[in-house]
């Protein structure tokens, strides 16, 4: 019931804050990685290079699907912005269903930009079914597709170190975020502006995906404070010997 209550509370807060943010857009804190993301997107469009967007290997049937959905929301906005580029972005995935969704998202972005005829199915790819096979396939994309910026948003593991190293070799910009701790450790050591923790889920808000994304961030903050409060209270109760 606690979970159900938390779910209901999150739903109410999400709905209310979404309507509020539609009227008053939020002022988000500066995240260097997303600033560089926007610049990289613009540069890629201007100089005719590609964007490589890696959505990881998140499976929608597992809890890692959330990061995959966050990556798809970002992909939607980037696809719309880069539709005018001479070289469309390439999206690699480590999961088949994620690869299919990435293709559909690309097409939706092109459609929204009025350039649906420029969509190519090959831009949304299944790089591999295993993490390292996925990394291997993504490595080939980074080295061979004239990539100017690598954007890794999703469920990535330690194998992302290979992608980071390849990005460093090609002297491309890297914006990476994962829900996996080992990947976050790798990103922290290898990238300039690492995204840690739930900053992955803020990608939609920073690329202008909508008011609901901004509201989600606020709800996360509210719930986090509630959890902190609950943990402190519970710890105190446990210390005092309350039967919890």
């Amino acid at each position: 019931m606690l979970a159900l209550g938390l779910l209901i509370l999150a739903s109410i807060l999400l709905l209310g804050l979404t309507f509020w943010r539609r009227r008053a857009p939020a002022s988000l804190r500066l995240i260097e990685a997303y600033e560089r993301l926007n610049r990289s997107v613009g540069l890629a469009v201007e100089n005719g290079t590609r964007l490589h967007i890696s959505l990881g290997r998140g499976n929608f049937l597992t809890s890692r699907g959330g990061s995959a959905l966050a990556g798809l929301a970002m992909l939607r906005r980037l696809a719309e912005r880069t539709s005018v580029s001479d070289r469309p972005p390439v999206v690699t995935s480590g999961d088949a269903s994620l690869a299919i969704l990435s293709q559909d998202t690309l097409q939706a972005g092109y459609r929204a930009a009025g350039a649906e005829d420029q969509y190519r199915f090959s831009t949304g790819r299944l790089a591999g079914l295993t993490p390292f096979s996925y990394a291997s396939g993504a490595l080939a994309t980074i080295h061979d597709e004239n990539i100017s910026a690598n954007i890794m948003m999703g469920d990535l593991g330690a194998e992302s170190a290979l992608l980071v190293e390849a990005s460093d070799r090609e002297d491309t910009s890297l914006i990476a975020a994962s829900d996996d701790l080992s990947a976050q450790a790798v990103f922290f050591a290898a990238s300039q502006e690492p995204l840690i923790g739930e900053e992955l889920f803020a990608a939609g808000a920073y690329v202008g995906a909508g008011a609901s994304h901004e509201a989600s961030l606020h709800v996360q903050d509210i719930l986090r404070w509630l959890i902190i409060l609950a943990m402190l209270v519970g710890s105190l109760l446990k210390i005092v010997g309350a039967p919890i």
């Binding site: 499976n59 049937l61 597992t62 809890s63 890692r64 079914l129 295993t130 993490p131 390292f132 593991g157 330690a158 194998e159 070799r169 996996d180 701790l181 080992s182």
Partner: protein, 914 residues
Amino acid sequence: MAEIRCPNCGRNNPDLLDVCQFCQTPLKPESVLRIGEKPIKKNTGELESVLPDWLKDVRQQAKDAAEEQEAAQAAAGSRSQKNEPPDLLAGLASQAGSGEDEDVPDWLANINPTAKAKPATPPASADTGSDFFAQFNEKESGPEPGSQPPQEDAPSWMDSSRDQSPAPEQKDELSEWFTQASGRADEIVESDNEQSDVGWRSSFDSPAAPAQNLPAEEEDLSWLHNLEAASKQTGDLQSPQKETGWTAEFETPATPSPSPSSQDDLSWLDRLGGMDEPSQSAAEQSSAAQDDPGWLNQFGGTPDVPKASQPSVPQEDLSWLNNLGAGSEPQPVDAAPNQPISAQPFAADADLDWLNNLGGTPDASQMAKLPSGPEEIKPSEEDLSWLNNLGKPAEPLTPAASPEDLSWLNDLGGEPEPLSTPPFAQSEDEKVSPRHTAPLSQKAAEESEPDWLKSAAQAPSMPAPGDLSMDWFSGKADREKTPPSTPQKNPFESDIFSTPEEPAPLSNQDVDSLFSVEMPDWLSRPEPGTAESVSQPTGSSSAEGDESLAPVDLPSWVQAMRPVEAVITETTPSVSDQPAETEGPLAGLHGVIPIAPAGSAKRPKPVSLMLQASDEQQASAKLLEQILGSETSPRALITSSVVTSQQWLRWVLTGLLLLVLSAGILLRSQNMPVSASLPNTVGGVSNAVLSIPANAKILVVVDYEPSLAGEMEAVGGPLLDQIVMLSQPNLSFVSTSPNGAALAERLMANTKINQIAPIYLNLGYLPGGSAAVLGFIESPGQILPSAGVGSFSEYSALVVLTDHAESGRAWVEQLQNRKIADPVLINQPLLMVASAQAGPLLQPYVASGQITGMINGLADAARYEFVNNSRPGIARSYWDTFGIGLMTSVALIIVGGLWSLFTGVRARANAEQG
């Protein structure tokens, strides 16, 4: 295109034509004076039609006052002929009845009808040695049938003039002149100013010509006789020393020398309107200016210097009147209207004194005298100096003092004036007397002026149509200023559009006298500053002769037309430097209206062409320029070396690690000790294995990737080996990854467990992730029928081999949830075999008791294997190599990190300095 009015038919013709296109009359008669030619008399009767309204009004007034002058005329008839002023308007009277001239004023036509009867005397004979007023005296002696009525209409001052001069003769001449002028006026239909000016002047210049066309009607010119008489009294006609008026120019060309001793004092009238006088007369201008009748010079000024009329002067003075209205002679129409009319000495200054007072500020005595009646007028002392004041410039053009005061007429419309001389500037010394036709004698001039003269003395509001110089707008202060002694040009001979080089400023008095309407103060009152500036150059000349025309200040718009260099001031005058306004609503204010004249070369401030850009903008512009320049310039290819430093480092690291690790493996070193104490978490695993019953079903979940198969086999091997060794269970392998089935097989093979437990069940791939896990836990037979179990509780233990915490957490969480529903599952151990990267994340579950025991990484596996009698031995074999590898890595990290730190700091320092 300038037009020339035909003197015969009066129609306008282009100036390019030599003959009239209507009547074939030469438009440019031979008598037009050119350079070197001698002036000839002109018929002033042509100017009848171009007479300004004020003059017409004067005539009308004269007509009205003619009756009053009859008695005075009769009284003045006893005077000597010498003293009688010449019939100035005799020529006009002769032309009064000629033609269809509608503009012939009645007063002019009625003044001297006897003048028409007089044949056109040769201009030469009329001019040479003939006194202007003498003609009038001669005429007066003769019958003048037509002169009686006009005489009645003549103003009183004219009666005085008649008394002074030989009335009959002069009267006849005057009447004749008037007649001629009237007759000529019929021919002159054009009201064009230029033509009218030309005609008017030409009529004056050639008195003999109009004599032929003198109207038969004889006009009463008694008023003019009175005028003559008055002028004689004043001596204007007698003393031709300062004749600078326009009358001096009216002498016939036969007597071009404007000698003061010339007895043809009426020559100025001959030249009145004669614009064709060549510039050669400029040399004679100095003297010609002296010949101008003083009365015209003093037009508008005070007759300060009444001149006694000389006995011979009256005769000579009236000669011009003979020429007035003479249209037979071709009138000289000057194509160069700026040519001044050579002024001839007008000896009869005294006789023209009355003219001097015409329009000027009348003296109190004069004003009192004028209306008193004609008896006060002394024709012998007529002062015609007022006529000299007509068109009097602001300063005398020539320094020579001339008895003739009619030079102002020459200045009308075009005499170069100093640019600094404002139109209204009047010298302080100038005393512009109101223009009024003062008695020809000085005495008469002092008498009261007739009404029409008073009105003429008033400040005119508008200049005459023929006034080409804005000198007419000289202020009223000119009234008190002495008329300039220099000869004045005929104002009518200059074009209205003439260059400002020849402005003929008139004093205000002259202006006032010319105009019958009162001029506004602002127009008549000269500016103080300009008045002073004008007064300076004109002061000398004004001091020279009393009959010199008062300098006239140019109006501002005329000054603006002056040469630029004369008025350009580079520096903008400050407010304090600018004079204060003296009149109007801006009186007393400084600098309200900029004094910079129109058309001045006052340049605006130079605007810098430099683009005002800030430093940031300039920097951006430079950057853009560099970018644009780099676009066209070939960019040197950055050739990187085949092997970079970073690649070298990678190779070195790889080689080093390979070397070390290979050595350890190949050497099968087992020198590094393994601790025998098991961690708590590992101890729980041992205890759980001991509690598994024999032949139990154990579910083994293989959720690791092939990449970590080696580690997992090393870590999971000892546990599975112990379980198999102790319980000989029935193992069931399941995997939530597609590779799990194969990996399970590999595990069994590599750990050689299959040799111990050859029978095991490989359930394969369990799709669906956590949901599948939950479903399998709830009903394994339904999810995987090949599992062979009805419920999950049939498994005695659950062993999960995972390399990522997500999978382990999923099994833990789903099992924990199921344990709540099924209490049987509470005692079912959950053993976790995790890789080193997943172990820390599963520790909380271990600590919470959800995981019974966990073997985390190779370290725990090695210890557990040691306890298990070193079976299978994979972990122990890896232990030494593992240690060496770690030590190498640590060393590399420490050394490399420090080196990177040093190089990084140095690079940043260089970057900051660069």
